[in-house]
Symmetry: C2
Subunit: 263 residues, 2 copies
């Protein structure tokens, strides 16, 4: 990974933008943009546990305010955070299969037809197939930094990516997932193989979300410890106390030492 800019935020958090190197055999010119936030206290002598803050598929530029707020909140609890542009988002090349699926989805919704399993598969699976190895490559690179240590948490905006990562990436110890619909059938099967502690956030009145599908997916996860926090409001209306609860979940499972004592 190559650091492309660096600054200190007013709370002492160090923010670095970077691009992720091409992995062997997977050309990624001009590289994948990402951002790393580390608490002021993070050092080689006191490495910070890491939370992968996966964005919604809106592009990092659009998602930055929410991601930065989550990262600064996590830094108060002693965590480093990192995010990565998703395949097909921001300035990255579009995924042709996904573009077609988005068009098919719009057509189905406008015509009032149910969204078929085939559309959901085409919409989500190519994204998951591409994103998961990228997050693993990011993890490889980030864990070489002396100020970053384990354990690693995942907090993310596309629940299918989080589910696949939780199954295939043993370095991830706990995950906060945001319930969403359009979950491919294959991901339900993968969900049964998840065993790490999960904290799932559901916005009860999410206009773009099938509540029953979200509850079914929660039910499918194989984890012995899984908690669902359902709150009122739409997709972006997650209340501040829900963010606090998610932070406490990570503190409990990743055993970070707080950088700042909180009252």
């Amino acid at each position: 990974m190559h650091v492309t800019s660096e600054r200190r935020l007013d709370d002492g958090v160090r923010e670095r933008t970077f691009t992720l190197d091409d992995a062997p055999g997977v050309p990624r010119t001009p590289g994948i943009p990402g951002i790393l936030w580390t608490p002021a206290s993070a050092a080689a002598s006191a490495p910070a546990p890491l939370i992968l803050q996966s964005p919604p598929p809106l592009g990092l530029r659009t998602a930055y305010p929410r991601l930065a707020a989550r990262a600064r909140h996590a830094a108060e609890d002693g965590f480093a955070s990192a995010t990565l542009e998703l395949p097909g988002s921001g300035d990255r090349p579009r995924i042709p299969a996904t573009e077609q699926a988005v068009a098919d989805l719009r057509q189905a919704l406008e015509a009032g037809r149910p969204v078929s399993d085939e559309i959901v598969d085409a919409l989500v699976l190519p994204l998951v197939d591409r994103a998961v190895p990228e997050w693993q490559a990011a993890l490889d690179a980030l864990l070489t930094l002396p100020e970053i240590g384990g354990p690693v948490g995942y907090s993310g905006g596309v629940i299918s990516i989080g589910t696949r990562l939780a199954v295939v990436e043993p370095r991830i110890s706990a995950a906060v997932l945001f319930a969403g619909s359009f979950v491919p059938r294959a991901i339900f099967e993968e969900a049964r193989q998840v065993t790490i502690p999960l904290h799932v956030l559901l916005q009860w009145d999410d206009e773009g979300n099938d509540r029953q599908a979200a509850l079914n997916l929660f039910d499918a996860f194989g984890s012995a410890e899984k908690t669902l926090h359902a709150n009122m409001g739409g997709h972006t209306g997650v209340p501040p106390f829900a963010a606090d609860a998610a932070a406490q979940f990570f503190t409990r499972h990743l055993r970070a030492r707080p950088a700042v004592m909180r009252g």
Copy 2:
């Protein structure tokens, strides 16, 4: 109310047992047994907000360990707690209509028949009708004590009682409710009238609980702020972190000043 015993627990919490006086026109000989816990810091100069810790219908003797643990946890956050024997529980006279409904319920379950609305009504409504004015009378008495102040929270084991109280008792500002099935149709209608902040705990694998009915009731509550916390495990398996989250909910809404700073 008459205090019948008093002791200090090892954490400084003052525990008093009491019996509630007869209310005008409602004979309650020999009185309703209850327990009051106040934090060491509670005084006329610093009255503690109160949480009504309503027991499950098992009798106070059986429920004591769980109730006392909740009360001592609440005392760490500066709250007083009080509980009251439910009508028909412990040494209180049985409610004939409820006894018959319990027999009908057993028969239906043993025969594999669905539990009818009539059985649910007979099982729950007489209990709610009797319990709610008793909790209101307890509130009248408790709020005369100089070391108890407002605001008042409710935390309870029979969700229909909590729902009715939240509608009819304006002194209750926030409630933690434990999802349970066997909710009469009339209570669903009352739930729509609830407007106070709610924190609902659901045990996902509760063997004595219809999950869909619990989700439907959560959906019915009229409150603008309502949160559902679903956790794994059976009826009595509420994990410790869920109790912490409920305590934080009360701290947020009842604005208690912590008696002890917690790390």
